[in-house]
């Protein structure tokens, strides 16, 4: 049981576009979203961008539909790697809550599953997966708590990409048996977002079981966040205080409990 999350909303320089997507996400019932910064070192030498501070996007975060809490926004970095040199974990990576890699070759896929310090491995959705998934690396990734990300926007945009998405996802499911999958949108506009229950249902088309499909938009995403936090806090040795967010709550709480005591006395 966990809140619904969409860990892939494509970053845009157009702030209005971004806010409208995040507002839609909140309206559809997602409690957490991640803005995805994609860099492709292959195409051009790209600096690792500095993520926006999420508080710049909204003065007041939109409330999640049917809840009393505002939506939580995270930053995610995705590196499209076609060569081993493309993935260099530097301090720049640490500015992001989540780090993902999209390996283009079998060798890199193996490395990503077994060694790379990442939270998410992306699966091809707009083209045929150029290699077969093998059990050893996939199991390795599962053991390390790394998750595979399937984004569904390509499947909404175009018929042939839809075939690739379904085919690649089905292939992956046959190997990973539905474990460690997250389904995210990869949306670039708000009409490409779909509700969490819709995605849980779509998971069945990708070959997931009902429970695994719902986990792919909820509990598995939470595991990814925890993995991201442990990566940031030196393999989880210091993991007692969750986030400043909880601290605030505790501080807020104190006067209330005092008040309560005085009243009951």
């Amino acid at each position: 049981m966990s809140v619904f999350m969409d860990l892939n909303i494509v970053n845009s320089h157009d702030k209005n576009k971004l806010t409208s997507i995040i507002e839609t996400a909140a309206h559809l019932g997602y409690s957490t979203v991640a803005i995805n910064y994609v860099i492709e070192p292959q195409k051009k030498k790209q600096e690792i961008p500095k993520p926006h501070s999420v508080s710049d996007i909204f003065e007041k975060f939109p409330m999640v539909q049917g809840k009393s809490t505002p939506i939580k926004v995270l930053n995610r970095l995705t590196i499209v790697a076609s060569d081993a040199s493309h993935f260099r974990p530097t301090n720049d990576y640490k500015l992001f809550d989540l780090v993902a890699v999209y390996p283009k070759t079998e060798k890199l896929f193996h490395a990503a599953c077994m060694t790379f310090d990442v939270d998410i491995i992306c699966i091809a959705v707009g083209e045929r997966q150029p290699f077969h998934f093998k059990r050893a690396p996939v199991n390795g990734a599962i053991d390390r708590g790394v998750f595979f990300d399937i984004s569904y926007t390509a499947a909404i945009r175009d018929s042939s990409m839809r075939r690739y998405t379904i085919a690649n996802a089905t292939c992956l499911m046959e190997v990973c048996k539905g474990k460690n999958i997250i389904i995210s949108s990869g949306a670039e506009k708000s009409l490409e977002m779909r509700g969490p229950y819709d995605i849980a249902n779509l998971g069945l088309v990708f070959g997931l079981s009902e429970g695994d499909a719902k986990a792919a938009v909820s509990t598995n995403c939470r595991s990814v966040l925890l993995h991201g936090e442990t990566r940031a806090t030196a393999s989880g040795v210091v993991y007692t205080m969750k986030k400043p967010h909880t601290l605030e709550e505790q501080i807020e709480d104190k006067p209330a409990s005092k008040k309560a005591k005085t009243e009951t006395a």
């Binding site: 559809l28 049917g66 569904y152 499947a155 909404i156 945009r157 018929s159 839809r162 506009k189 009409l191 490409e192 977002m193 779909r194 509700g195 229950y197 819709d198 995605i199 249902n201 779509l202 069945l204 088309v205």
Partner: protein, 128 residues
């Protein structure tokens, strides 16, 4: 008058033949006019794209359609629920205009669609 009836209890598991869906259609350029037949045809075309002629032949009913809000209630055989739902999910455009089906509620009981407690909202004016 009939005699008072005797106690009887029956448990039906998965005996409902249908599932019911409450949906609405969002379009990029706001609302446009749809007839109920066009609306149903749009859903059939979504089914046909994803599941081919076999999928398009699967019967479902457009029980209710409100052209002003583009909201509708569908009835579908249990077996076709996942397919119909996923076809709605993956429909991305209508006549080159981006669109999205939003699924509001799904239930094996039509009666359940008339009482959605998630619709219970209190206006901000009441809360201040």
């Amino acid at each position: 008058m009939e005699e008072p009836t005797t106690f009887e209890r029956h448990v039906y598991k998965n005996a409902s033949v249908y599932h019911y869906m409450k949906i609405s259609l969002d379009l990029e350029n706001g609302k446009r006019s749809f007839s109920d037949a066009q609306f149903k045809q749009l859903i059939i075309s979504a089914l046909k794209e994803l599941y081919g002629e076999v999928g398009a032949a699967f019967p479902f009913d457009l029980l209710k359609f409100d052209p002003s809000s583009l909201k509708a209630i569908l009835r579908v055989y249990n077996k076709g629920l996942v397919k119909l739902w996923s076809a709605l999910t993956l429909l991305g455009s209508y006549q080159n205009e981006a669109c999205a089906f939003r699924v509001i509620q799904v239930s094996p009981f039509l009666l359940a669609l008339s009482g959605n407690s998630r619709e219970l909202q209190f206006g901000e004016s009441l809360t201040s």
